[in-house]
């Protein structure tokens, strides 16, 4: 948490919803948010306030940026894909065109792009694919061969299959129930894909269990995993210390780092997956400042 005075620029703006449409199990919203659209890069996220001043729901909700259009008819727009799972996301999917939404962003670190044109595999679980199409375009601009794997529990929870075909060199779909593509998990198809494409980097976004297995597989098949995590966040801007995860630093030491400012993208092999259990993460005993027996 030591202060680093130079930080990426960030904006807070009241955005107007200009489009909202159902896509399978999700809602795809387009927000007029020129400053954020100007600054964002793939892998970053936005945090939306829920309700008005008299809302009992104080904390912002975070969403990966699906796409930005820095200059549209209405000014720059930011798009997000939302799965309604609780009161906050239900409120957000209920917004209508012209409704205002208070947005802060772009937040967090973007996916690092390779300096050389190496083959890449992008893996998205459920709405986790949302930021990957934009990433794919940037990778292909740099000459990378890009293949994508989209996985979900069922067909309605896949996002962007058509867009994937447009923006990638190859697309593989998996569903748990076989309602679309291969029946099974992304981890079933990933090893062959890395080997076939000779991928140097595997980018992943989705549930933690999936990111862990992507990391394992990438490591075993000679690729680097870059994963975008999802940890419960109270502020999204680095001031509350709720969103921490045990991550190994360049000095080899494990620290509880803030996934909102030092993530959400981490190198998979830096994350201490051994500390996770269900939705809890322990502080590993060897972490810097970990509680000692008899101490705190």
């Amino acid at each position: 948490m030591s202060a680093s005075p130079v930080r990426a620029r960030v904006a807070k703006e009241v955005a107007e919803v200009i489009a909202t449409r159902r896509v399978g199990a999700y809602q795809h919203l387009t927000l007029v948010s020129p400053q954020i659209a100007e600054l964002a890069r793939p892998g970053q996220f936005v945090a939306l306030a829920v309700g008005d001043e008299s809302s009992a729901t104080l904390l912002r909700r975070s969403f990966s940026i699906h796409k930005v259009s820095p200059s549209g008819t209405y000014g720059g727009t930011v798009e997000i894909v939302v799965s309604a799972v609780g009161p906050g996301t239900r409120w957000i999917v209920g917004r209508q065109p012209h409704d205002p939404v208070d947005v802060v962003g772009p937040l967090g670190k973007a996916f690092p792009l390779p300096t050389e044109p190496v083959p890449c595999v992008l893996v998205g679980g459920g709405y986790g694919s949302a930021p990957l199409f934009w990433l794919s375009s940037q990778l292909r601009e740099r000459g990378c061969h890009v293949e994508m794997v989209l996985g979900a529990a069922s067909e309605d929870r896949l996002f962007g299959v058509v867009e994937a075909r447009r923006s990638c060199d190859g697309v593989t779909v998996t569903t748990d129930d076989g309602s679309a593509g291969h029946r099974g998990w992304v981890s079933d198809v990933l090893p062959e894909l890395i080997d076939r494409t000779g991928a140097g980097v595997v980018y992943g976004c989705g549930p933690m269990g999936m990111l862990r297995s992507i990391t394992d597989i990438a490591g075993r098949h000679g690729a680097v995993a870059q994963v975008a995590v999802e940890e419960a966040m109270a502020c999204g801007v680095g001031v509350c210390m709720t969103c921490v995860m045990p991550v190994v630093g360049t000095d080899g030491q494990t620290r509880m780092v803030r996934s909102c400012v030092e993530g959400p993208v981490f190198r998979g092999d830096r994350v201490r997956w051994d500390a996770f259990e269900g939705n809890h993460a322990r502080v590993p005993d060897d972490a810097v400042g970990a509680p000692r027996a008899g101490g705190h």
Partner: protein, 343 residues
């Protein structure tokens, strides 16, 4: 010692300055709340942190601390629960990096210090005093709402004796002209007795309130939601408790049961009107905590809202408003009676 950081009030419609004692005058009464603003750099992206009366840093202990496991937070109606476990870099890194950075941007700093024993508090205070950026420090907040390892983990602020011991030791370590503020917990039977013990032990002021002990059960998993099981409840939900605590202590001061010292109010402030509630109850300065998570500009926004509200009410000096709800001083002019009020 003339201190560049002690700025003059800038709003020419009203004198917002706050005197913390010993010549430490703040340009205005708004502050961040410890642990809700990290150590400055993150919020400086949204506003100039030197605009605030003072910047209160995350409580720092002697050594680096990892804090607790996750989940560390749960949203609750109009509030939240946290169990961070005082994660931090340790005082050495704080004086090396964070404090100099705050000094470099012109912030007036109220570092918050913590310890698991009274000697740890003293050590942290001594290291702070020895730091090269100490001139940026306008006072020190002593977070006694943390567990006392020597006393079965009982929070210092729950026991007048333990609180007094910490305050007395910290007071010894710091120059006389640096005021220290004891930060109290509301989770006590009688907050005035803890306040009295702290002031008698040398506290130059009081910060009220820290979070309330609370808990959320995850009804999907049927177990405590937080990794740390219990957590601290904060946000607008607890504002009435903060107002009451400030009122009671201020009242005890008026009755001579506690020597008169400034109170810094904190708890559930989201708007200028909320801040005014705490001030009218007796707070000389106001911190904004959880509301910052909803709006990263909240501390300055609240400053502007409070200023406008006071100007609108016809006040010329912020200090006239402090404790005004106790009946003295009276509001400077009658409030317009609208349709809703009864003859």
């Amino acid at each position: 010692m003339t201190d560049q950081r002690i700025a003059r009030p800038t709003d020419d419609r009203i004198d917002l300055s706050v005197d913390l004692g010993f010549g430490k005058v703040l340009p205005n009464p708004l502050m961040t709340a410890s642990g809700c603003a990290a150590n400055g750099a993150e919020l400086h992206r949204f506003f100039d942190v030197s605009e605030l009366g003072a910047f209160v840093t995350k409580s720092v202990m002697a050594d680096p601390r990892s804090g607790r496991g996750t989940p560390r937070m749960a949203e609750t109606p109009s509030g939240m629960l946290n169990s961070i476990g005082l994660q931090g870099p340790g005082i050495a890194a704080f004086v090396d990096t964070d404090l100099p950075w705050l000094a470099s941007v012109g912030a007036r700093v109220l570092p918050s210090i913590a310890g698991s024993s009274s000697t740890e508090f003293a050590h942290v205070a001594a290291t702070l005093r020895a730091s090269r950026a100490f001139e940026a420090v306008v006072g020190v907040e002593v977070n006694i709402s943390c567990p006392n390892v020597a006393n079965r983990g009982l929070v210092f602020a729950c026991d007048p004796g333990a609180s007094a011991k910490v305050i007395a030791l910290v007071r010894e370590q710091l120059p006389r002209d640096v005021p220290i503020f004891a930060k109290l917990s509301p989770d006590v039977t009688d907050i005035t007795s803890i306040a009295a013990a702290c002031v008698k032990a040398g506290a130059d002021g009081l910060t009220m309130i820290n979070t309330l002990l609370g808990m959320v059960i995850d009804t999907d998993l049927m177990r405590p939601h937080l990794g740390g099981i219990t957590g601290g409840l904060s946000g607008p939900a607890i504002r009435p408790v903060a107002v009451r605590a400030i009122w009671q202590v201020r009242q005890a001061m008026a009755e001579g049961r506690i020597p008169v010292v400034p109170i810094i109010g904190v708890g559930g402030v989201r708007t200028g009107r909320d801040a005014l509630e705490l001030v009218a109850a007796g707070a000389s300065a106001v911190q904004v905590g959880t509301a910052t998570f909803n709006d990263p500009t909240a501390p300055v926004r609240v400053l502007h809202e409070l200023t406008d509200l006071l100007v609108e009410k016809g006040y010329r000096r912020f200090s006239d408003v402090v404790g005004a709800a106790h009946g003295s001083p009276l509001p400077p002019r009658p409030v317009p009676v609208d349709e809703r009020s009864r003859a």
